[in-house]
């Protein structure tokens, strides 16, 4: 269980602080929604370690995550865009998910097959469609094998058809690999299709939308 308990954060001392408390279960998608500027990305930055809360607790199965630097957090990121390095091939991008010093084309190919991109590994990332790019980023997430997946509006740049396909893939992968997936989105249909639990940020606080 990924659990945030009253994570408090403010950008400037004079600001009213954010207060975030929520739980995300393994194998399920937990959605966070809210108006633009409500603090959705701030929450993801706190979970990923890019921001440090002034107080509160963040644990994964009783392991305290707060002392861990971003690179050591058990977290993978999937953003709306800029998930890939355009000068690298699909394989090159996926390989970045492997632990340092480790190589293994078979693992990369298997990850690409799992996200439905077999045969496209040699393609430069710059020539892939938006949906294919998100799949490559998901393949990299598979290799990273981190138990928490943070999704920041990952389907926003996709057309409706691709959006549905990638959304389904995210749901399947989360279940299959037991990821604690946290989806930040302001699209009600994404949340309805994917999320087992839904929180909403109102007045800088998370509340259970159900």
């Amino acid at each position: 269980m990924l659990r945030a308990s009253d994570l408090e954060f403010r950008y400037r001392p004079e600001d009213e602080p954010y207060h975030f408390s929520f739980e995300a279960t393994a194998g399920q998608v937990t959605a966070i929604s809210g108006a633009s500027g409500s603090g959705k990305s701030t929450l993801l930055d706190l979970l990923a370690g890019f921001l440090q809360p002034s107080q509160g607790a963040l644990t994964l199965d009783d392991t305290n995550l707060l002392p861990l630097q971003p690179e050591h957090r058990p977290v993978s990121l999937l953003l709306q865009s800029d998930n890939l390095f355009e000068h690298l091939s699909a394989v090159g991008n996926v390989e970045l998910g492997m632990p340092r010093g480790e190589r293994g084309r078979e693992k990369v190919d298997a990850a690409l097959v799992e996200v439905g991109l077999s045969g496209l590994g040699g393609r430069p990332a710059s020539t892939l469609s938006g949906g294919q790019k998100q799949r490559v980023a998901l393949a990299r997430t598979l290799l990273r094998n981190r138990p928490v997946l943070l999704l920041d509006e990952p389907f926003s740049a996709l057309d409706d058809e691709t959006r549905g396909t990638v959304r389904t893939l995210v749901g399947e992968l989360s279940r299959r690999h037991g990821w604690h997936t946290v989806l930040v989105s302001h699209h009600a249909d994404d949340i309805a299709a994917l999320a087992s639990r839904h929180y909403r940020i109102v007045d800088k606080r998370l509340s259970d939308a159900a």
Binding site: A48, P70, E71, L77, D82, F85, H87, L88, L96, G97
Partner: protein, 284 residues
């Protein structure tokens, strides 16, 4: 120069130019006749101001007797010294610029970012002769053997003087990478050499080549630094040219100038392409 500047100011008053940062859209308006005429005038003046002296150098150099100059051992010695110092200076500039620009791009603190820019851009305000004299006095005050340290000092001085231009070339793309990919790189636990080799180097291949060419040519054409440290045994092509002029061998000077010009053109055209090709070469 003053005429060019005046015309540019006038021309800019007649036509609007998008000034937003980042990628700008193509203008949807057409220039009026006055603006077009001024644009052509500016272009013609710039081309004339640039091309005429260079053409003179090439013409005088070609008719000046290449054979006589290249038959002199001192010419080849100076050429080797110029290339060696230029190459070493370019590599040193690259290393310094990368350390500063990567440090700036990665710095979260805005004060640290500003401070990391100071060492580079400070050299813009320093005349090369002043820096050279500073190095000269330093060497003398420290009691170092001038002959032995001269090449090192010339390399260092040329490298520092080229640093602002190197930073101006490398810092913006490195900043852009840090802004757009910073979180991703951090979450992928990429840093140091692995990050540079896989991400920055391939993306910056052409910029690095351009910066190396700039620094190399800067050093190749330097006279301010070498004038203080040069000797009969340690001279570069510009110093050789200056000495030829001083002894009224104008034709020899023109030949050397033409060779310097050709060298800089080759470096400017070749190095960016070469480094870009190397940066994009498939790696295992």
């Amino acid at each position: 120069m003053a005429i060019c500047a005046a015309v540019i100011v006038l021309a800019s008053a007649f036509t609007a130019v998008p000034t937003a940062l980042g990628r700008s859209a193509q203008p949807t308006w057409s220039d009026n006749r006055t603006a077009r005429a001024l644009q052509w005038l500016v272009l013609a003046l710039s081309v004339l101001g640039f091309a005429l002296p260079l053409l003179s150098v090439l013409v005088d150099g070609v008719v000046g007797g290449f054979g006589r100059v290249i038959a002199q051992p001192s010419f080849w010695q100076a050429t080797a010294t110029s290339i060696g110092i230029g190459a070493a200076s370019a590599v040193q500039t690259l290393l310094l610029a990368l350390v500063l620009a990567l440090g700036r791009a990665a710095a979260a603190n805005s004060v640290a970012r500003t401070l990391l820019g100071v060492p580079a851009y400070a050299y813009l305000a320093v005349p090369s002769v002043v820096l050279s004299l500073g190095f000269f006095l330093l060497v003398r005050n420290l009691g170092l053997p001038l002959g032995a340290v001269s090449p090192i000092v010339v390399i260092c001085a040329n490298s520092l003087l080229a640093l602002p231009f190197a930073m101006a070339t490398l810092a913006p793309p490195l900043d852009a990478i840090a802004r757009t990919k910073g979180k991703l790189l951090l979450s992928l636990n990429m840093s140091g050499w692995a990050q540079f080799a896989r991400i920055e180097y391939p993306l910056l291949g052409r910029d690095i080549g351009l910066m190396l060419a700039l620094s190399f040519c800067f050093s190749l054409g330097d006279l301010g630094v070498i004038a203080l440290f040069g000797t009969q045994d340690f001279q570069t092509l510009p110093l050789l040219m200056y000495r030829a002029l001083g002894s009224y061998r104008n034709n020899d000077a023109a030949v050397i100038a033409a060779i310097l010009l050709i060298g800089t053109i080759v470096a400017f055209v070749g190095l960016p392409r070469l480094i870009e090709r190397l940066a994009h070469a498939p790696r295992q």
